[in-house]
Amino acid sequence: MKTPRSAKILLVEDNSGDEFLVRDAFERGRVRHDLEVARDGEAALERLRCIGEHAEKPLPDLILLDLNLPKIDGRDVLKTVKGDNSLANIPVLILTTSSSQLDIKNCYALHANAYLTKPFDALGYEEIVDAVESFWFATAVLPSHSPGSH
């Protein structure tokens, strides 16, 4: 099941508690992974555009995106990513507290690849990460990225 190379995952999340839980869930998962965290929308876009310290870094295979972010809102990040030809093919999974239909519809309209709500119970994150791993890294085929391609 394990992929030959480690999966590059960008988590855009301002809350360290959530970061901890996501990271914990991936640690307990089966996939070799490289989890990067951006604390706000601006940082996330800088990372994705390989600006500054991120110059030589390869693009992530998957983005986990919170909607409620400081500086640039998660929705705008989604819009920018999906509007950028070089980034548009990275799967973006929305991971948020909101269960509002309005948010759900908007995100899919902006070509989000999945919409996940943050779980309430202790084992919820593990179940989510398990599902992401088994679908995105075992079942689905992802596009390959060369570092600094733009």
Binding site: N15, L21, T96, S100, L102, D103, F120, A122, G124
Partner: protein, 880 residues
């Protein structure tokens, strides 16, 4: 009642005019030359229609009945029949006239146009009268009710002429005076006066002609009577002479045989056919001559001996005394020595006269009785038919007279009469006649035929032609006055209209709530109503003849001075003839106000501007109020939005840390379970319970807030039965367990939002199952009731029920009646339910269910807007 009155008036007019017509009859008692009731009947039937028929029928009946009874002496039954026929004919004539003239309304009877007159006279008077006359005359003549000398054609023509002339002359006047209200008094006066004048002249001429004619007729009659009376005398003298010739005959021959006597009588009286018998008497002592007491052959002379009565002097002698009484007669003759006469009265219309003449031997009549007795040679007696004597004497037709012969006694008393005359003879003259010592009087009475032959065509012509003339003049007067009347009426109407209009206009101007200002072409005030003066603070006269723009409109909306070139009050400078808007105006005291106004140019028929009229209303207050209102609404909206955003964000942000508490406590419980003692695990258990409850609270609060924010969710047709059934599937295990006890009755298809109604049912059914006493099986029923405009859905349970004092509280957010331990829940369920029902335009209430439990009832309108009428639509609040 009205009919009775109208009919009474018509009847009286009918009878009076009928009596007048009879007076005009020529001669009196004959058909009237002009039948005035015809005109009355025609006018009546045109004015009040067939309701006038009873009066016409009764009038005709009353008028003609006495004529039949007394003038024609026709007897009661025949008179009744004749009058009834005439009444029927009059009614038919009226009906025909009404049908022919056929006025559309009373105005058609105002006799204003030639056509109206033509219809009235041509159809109503002439044609209808022809029908009426034909019917009446046919009834009279062929029914045998008419005087014998009257034939059908004459009767019909005279009847027709009388009716038609009266109708043509009189009816237009009657209609003019009484039929139409729109005829002016002046016109009535003029026409009536002209008519009265013409009629007076006509009647005067008629009377003159009439008097003249009657005199002429009477003279003619008297002359004829005189002539004929002389002839009667001569006839009697002739009889006497013939009797005297007998004396000579017997003097010449002493021995006359009977045959010789008869031959002589035949010669003497041959042409004298009034003689019945001739006798020659000789005194008894000369018995040899007794054979000369001879009767002319009775059969030849039509005398029936033995039946005649001889009247000598004042004594009657029956036939048996005829011969026995002769000596007596002789005695009488001898006593008088003169001619003696006596009337012999027969039966029927025959009467005889006996003439006796004594013959003396000397030429002269001896003076003494003794001598006369001595000298008496014989007595010649002739018996004559009186009626034949008279009629043979009359040189004119016998039908000229009816006569009566009376024998007068001493002192003029009548002893006997022969012949009959009417009781009230129209024309009679009496003459006296001495006959053989008696005095007779003969009454000559003109017969109807004489009167008819002598009737006065001149006066007839006067009245008929005169009335025709009157009709024509009438028509001219009617038409010419109608034109004047029409013009006058138009002038009156227009004047009244103008007055009313100007009064109304000035009332409108005076009392209009809006200011009205009229400007002339120069922009100077010409008309300022009180409202305008009050609004602007000027007296009306202060604004007239002054430049109104300068006075009240020196600045524009923003308060900047502006010239009159752009002033909307002076529309000369504008492209359009009409302008309306809102602008700033200035009062006399310098204060400004805002007014809504509308200005329109007034143009003359050539399109030149005469100025304009402005109507304005002060809306300063309204503008302020509107501005206040707008500001208030804006503030309110903003406050609402902030509040909702606050609630939304607050509940959302509350959820974040709670979720993490829950997550980490969960991790603690799962990963450090073995490192914790029992107390620590209990703490964690309570912490998790608390976070779970708080999460429910926040979720429900969010859902409640979202009901506002998603106000425009669309409606569709929702089958409630199907929805209820699918809702049950989504409910938790407690509901599934009780599913057999949940009865879903017949539920309607309603218009609404499926998701929300689902939530509603979910909450209500969930509550019904949840709030049960421990150990009791829930019994839940859903029922629907049609309320006409809406449906009422009831959710009925057998649960713990709700006390009356809490029935309103339970719909408040977070309101709970029980601890979460006994009945879990956030306290938001019913608040959400009520909001859903209200957003559908319905009402949610709760009541008791006997013996235990509650009934939650909600209504849903059958038709409503297609989007939910949520409360103010909040900001688009996504959950972050």
């Amino acid at each position: 009642m009205r009919d009775l009155k109208a009919n009474s008036i018509i009847l009286i007019a009918y009878l009076i005019s009928g009596a007048a017509s009879f007076l005009l009859a020529i001669p009196p008692g004959f058909l009237a030359p002009v039948w005035l009731p015809g005109a009355i009947g025609l006018a009546a039937v045109l004015i009040i229609g067939y309701r006038a028929l009873p009066a016409i029928a009764l009038g005709m009946f009353i008028l003609t009945l006495p004529y039949g009874l007394y003038a024609l002496d026709a007897g009661l039954i025949r008179s009744l029949a004749g009058s009834l026929g005439l009444a029927a004919a009059a009614v038919l004539q009226a009906v025909i006239a009404k049908r022919l003239v056929h006025p559309d309304n009373r105005s058609d009877l105002a006799m204003e146009t030639g056509l109206q007159l033509f219809r009235l006279i041509g159809y109503g008077a002439i044609l209808a009268s022809l029908c009426g006359a034909a019917l009446a005359s046919a009834w009279l003549v062929f029914g045998g009710f008419a005087p014998p000398q009257l034939d059908f054609t004459t009767a019909m023509l005279r009847n027709w002429a009388g009716n038609a002339v009266a109708g043509a002359a009189l009816t237009p006047i009657i209609l003019l005076l009484f039929a139409s209200k729109r005829v002016s008094r002046t016109r009535k006066r003029i026409v009536a006066l002209a008519f009265a004048l013409l009629c007076s002249i006509g009647i005067g001429l008629f009377c003159l002609a009439r008097v003249n004619a009657i005199e002429r007729r009477d003279e003619l009659f008297n002359a004829q009577v005189t002539e004929d009376h002389i002839a009667v005398q001569e006839r009697l003298n002739g009889a006497r002479r013939r009797l005297e010739s007998l004396e000579g005959f017997f003097a010449a021959s002493q021995d006359v045989t009977n045959d010789e006597f008869l031959t002589f009588v035949d010669i003497a009286f041959g042409q004298f056919d009034s003689v019945s018998s001739v006798h020659w008497l000789v005194p008894e002592e000369s018995g040899s001559r007794s054979n000369h007491v001879v009767l002319a052959p009775a059969d030849a002379l039509q005398l029936e001996p033995g039946r005649a009565i001889m009247v000598a002097a004042e004594r009657n002698l029956v036939s048996d005394y005829y011969f026995a009484g002769l000596p007596r007669l002789v005695d009488d003759l001898l006593a008088s020595g003169l001619l003696a006469a006596s009337a012999l009265h027969g039966e029927g219309d025959q009467a005889w006269l006996a003439l006796a003449i004594p013959a003396f031997s000397g030429r002269r009549v001896p003076e003494s009785l003794a001598e006369r007795r001595e000298d008496l040679q014989g007595v010649a007696i002739g018996i004559f038919r009186i009626d034949v004597i008279l009629t043979r004497a009359f040189q004119h037709e016998r039908s000229v007279y009816n006569y009566r012969v009376s024998g007068l006694g001493s002192g003029g008393s009548t002893i006997w009469t022969f012949g009959t005359v009417p009781d009230e003879p129209g024309l009679m003259t009496s003459r006296e006649l001495p006959v053989g010592g008696q005095l007779w009087r003969i009454d000559y009475v003109a017969t109807d035929r004489f009167l008819a032959a002598q009737q006065d065509w001149v006066s007839w012509a006067v009245i008929v032609v005169g009335l025709c003339f009157v009709s024509v003049l009438n028509a001219l007067a009617l038409l010419s006055t109608a034109r004047t009347d029409l013009v006058q009426r138009l002038v009156d109407e227009k004047t009244a209209e103008t007055l009313t209009l100007s009064r109304n206009l000035s009332l409108i101007l005076e009392h209009a709530a809006d200011a009205i200002i009229g400007l002339d072409a120069e922009g100077h005030g010409v008309l300022v109503n009180p409202a305008a003066a009050k609004l602007l603070g000027y007296e009306p006269e202060e604004m007239t003849r002054r430049d109104v723009h300068d006075l009240i409109h020196p600045v524009d909306m923003e308060g900047r001075p502006h010239g009159r070139d752009t002033c909307p009050l002076v529309l000369r400078s504008q492209a359009s003839d009409q302008y309306s808007g809102i602008d700033r105006f200035r009062r006399r005291d310098g204060s400004d106000f805002f007014a809504e106004f509308s200005t329109e140019v007034i143009r003359d028929s050539d399109g030149r501007s005469l100025g304009d009229v402005t109507i304005m209303r002060d809306i300063t207050e309204r503008l302020e109020v509107e501005a206040d209102k707008e500001r208030f609404i804006e503030r309110l909206t903003r406050a609402n939005e902030e509040l909702e955003r606050f609630a939304f964000v607050a509940s959302h942000d509350l959820q974040e840390p709670l979720r993490l508490i829950s997550n980490f406590t969960g991790l603690l419980a799962s990963r450090y379970n073995d490192k914790l003692d029992e107390t620590g695990r209990t703490y964690i258990h309570h912490t998790l319970n608390a976070t779970s409850r708080m999460q429910t609270l926040i979720t429900d609060l969010l859902a409640y807030g979202r009901l506002n924010s998603d106000a425009d969710i669309m409606k569709s047709d929702v089958d409630l039965a199907q929805l209820a059934s699918s809702t049950l599937d989504t409910l938790g295990p407690s509901v599934q367990a009780a599913r057999d006890h949940i009865r879903i009755g017949a539920l309607p298809v309603v218009r609404g939002n499926s998701a929300r109604l689902g939530q509603l049912l979910q909450n209500l059914i969930g509550n019904a199952v949840k709030f049960q006493p421990a150990g009791q099986e829930p019994e839940v029923a859903l029922e629907a009731r049609d309320l006409g405009n809406s449906w009422e859905i009831a959710v009925i349970d057998n649960g713990i029920g709700i006390r009356r004092e809490y029935r309103e509280q339970i719909f408040m957010p977070f309101k709970r009646l029980h601890s979460p331990d006994s009945y879990p829940g956030s306290g938001m369920g019913l608040a959400i339910c009520r909001k859903i029902v209200e957003s559908h335009g319905g009402v949610l209430t709760v009541s008791d269910h006997q013996p235990g439990g509650s009934i939650f009832r909600f209504t849903l309108p059958k038709s409503g807007p297609d989007s939910l009428s949520g409360t103010d639509s909040g900001p688009d609040n996504p959950i972050q």
